[in-house]
Amino acid sequence: MTEPILEVSHLKKYFDIKGGVFGKSVGEVKAVDDLSFTVNEGEILGIVGESGCGKSTAGKSILRLIEPTDGSVKFEGTDLTDLTSEEMRQLRKNMQIIFQDPYASLNPRHKVERIISEPLLVHGMKSSKERKERVKELLEIVGLEAYHASRYPHQFSGGQRQRIGIARALANNPKLIICDEPVSALDVSVQSQILNLMEELRDKFKLTYVFIAHDLSVVKHISDRVGVMYLGRMVELTDKHTLFEDPKHPYTRALMSAVPIADPDVERERIILEGDVPSPSNPPTGCAFHTRCPYAMDICKEVRPEFENVDDKHLVACHLYN
């Protein structure tokens, strides 16, 4: 395996809960709480987790679109958290993001031309002719036509918009793209188009993806390695075959068994978890999952399990394995 292109260690992002007199903060939402993982060049790391577990926050914190509270993010060896905002700005060329909502991530008042050429301009492509060329090229890469450049986003369907988003992310030949649920807002039939496109692009441009999703089957389909998040932390991380064949963490197991399979012949043991996901503003002590865990032990209530290797390159945060 190649060098890790991205190293995230002990990343934390706490949001203040504003309240009290004069909007003082009266508490924190621990959206991301001590998250560590690495991504190797050319691989697709999938991250799954239920809604609100901090996936998007992690993605945005990595890119410093929101300032992380603590921890470090190394991109090709440089610690992003140390950079000035101007340095960071320059670096953004190399790391891009695609958002979940194809409707909200394109400025409704700009034409596609403008949307895609903006990053070019920002990173120094001054000649407008060159930019036009590049926009055309990009549109073709993502499977749209050149004439689409003169349209407004609302004139496209969801899938097409997502393609525009992808074209924009590709504009400056980035090395890493963080994909924040790029397909979850799309219909199934369209979803597969985008997934295929993303795979193609990865191969063509040697991209590295961090692919965030809540849909296990999508993640499984596209990723090389998969991390499972629960309440702001990573609970399990390994390559996808290992994960799907031999899930270790009780949460991962429950999650997998809960995914409905479109095959009436498949009979599975269903693990139905009790209760709801606790609130990240008031996470349980010890292992965050202990409130719903069928195997919870006394220690789980008090000690937070370390995120450790249990097998070869199979990281799990669970007292059952330590």
Binding site: G19, G20, V21, F22, V26
Partner: protein, 333 residues
């Protein structure tokens, strides 16, 4: 709820501070010497400097401001230049008069406004809806003082139905207890007096209440329409409940929340409009007090009048906010 209340109360502090700074500035930023203003065209220079001395006009701003706030905290609004009476004592009955008027104007605005809004939303696109909304649009476009003048002309002068001025009959004045004449006449158990008092309230209340009424009607309607489209109204209907229950129990309560905000804000319009309406209807309230003070350049009164009205406005909005939390359980802290 308690926490919320105290939070809202504490949030008032910077606002009140800012308000006093602004009102304080009024007297210190006006052109010319206030002492000259008081004494008028026959004043001698000596008299002017004497007065400056007694009013402390020659000390530095910070000290003057501290003294001003100190006085305010003790409930002392200063002395009227014109009447030399304590503004605090002069303002009391006037405040009552204004509050009575604005209260009735608000009742008028809220009652008519909300009901018109509901019916309009219920019978969307009917002729009632159309007429009510045209009326409401005209209503919001009308200058208060003009409406007041027109009312006076039509109902007091041409038709002679209602009194043209004041709060009571001059010949038969009420013996004030609370200075809220409606309450007073009830306390005196004087039916005739009560009717007279109410009659005097009609024209100014309508003049003052028309704009808020129109705004409330529009707001209620659109908020109602919004709510009627909401998921939970659909749920309620799926339960098999009738239109009436939907509208008067669920939709109304839900749509009242944005309307409540509007009502809170409209109190400001009412209190501001009082300056104009009270002048026209000779209503001895705080609005007219300020108006006369403007004419006489009685700055301490202008200053205090504005402060008191703004304070009242702030308090009413506080109450609205609390009411809000009372109606809407989602507001917690």
């Amino acid at each position: 709820m308690l926490a919320y209340t105290s939070r809202r109360l504490l949030m008032l502090v910077p606002v009140l501070f800012g308000m006093t700074v602004i009102t304080f500035s009024i007297i210190h930023l006006i052109p010319g010497n206030p002492a000259q203003t008081i004494l008028g065209e026959t004043a001698t220079e000596e008299a002017i400097s004497n007065l400056e001395e007694t009013m402390g006009l020659n000390r530095n701003y910070f000290i003057q401001y501290t003294a001003y706030v100190g006085d305010l905290l003790q409930g002392d609004l200063g002395t009227s230049l014109r009447t030399k009476a304590s503004i605090t004592s002069e303002i009391g009955p006037r405040l009552a008069a204004t509050m009575e008027l604005t209260f009735f104007a608000m009742i008028f605005a809220v009652f008519i406004g909300i009901n018109a809004g509901i019916i309009s939303a219920w019978k969307q696109n009917s002729w009632f809806d159309f007429l009510a909304m045209v009326f409401a649009l005209v209503g919001v476009s009308m200058p208060v003082f003009w409406l007041a003048l027109m009312e006076q002309w039509l109902f007091a002068q041409e038709l002679g139905w209602l009194p043209a001025y004041g709060r009571q009959e001059s010949r038969n004045p009420i013996d004030p207890i609370t200075h809220f004449y409606v309450i007073d006449s009830i306390l005196h158990m004087d039916m005739k007096q009560l009717i007279t008092t109410l009659k005097h309230l009609v024209l100014p209340s309508i003049a003052l209440g028309t704009i808020p009424m129109a705004i409330i009607a529009r707001m209620t309607r659109s908020s109602m329409l919004e709510v009627m489209k909401s998921d939970y109204v659909r749920t309620i209907r799926a339960k098999g409940s009738g239109q009436f229950l939907v509208i008067y129990k669920h939709a109304l309560k839900n749509s009242i929340i944005p309307v409540l905000t509007v009502i809170g804000l409209q109190v400001g319009v009412l209190l501001g409009g009082a300056i104009l309406t009270e002048t026209i209807f000779s209503w001895p309230g705080i609005g007219r007090y300020v108006y006369e003070a403007i004419n006489y350049r009685d700055y301490p009164v202008i200053q205090s009048g504005i402060l008191v009205i703004a304070f009242l406005f702030v308090i009413i909005n506080l109450v609205v906010d609390l009411l809000y939390a009372f109606i809407d359980p989602r507001i917690k802290y």
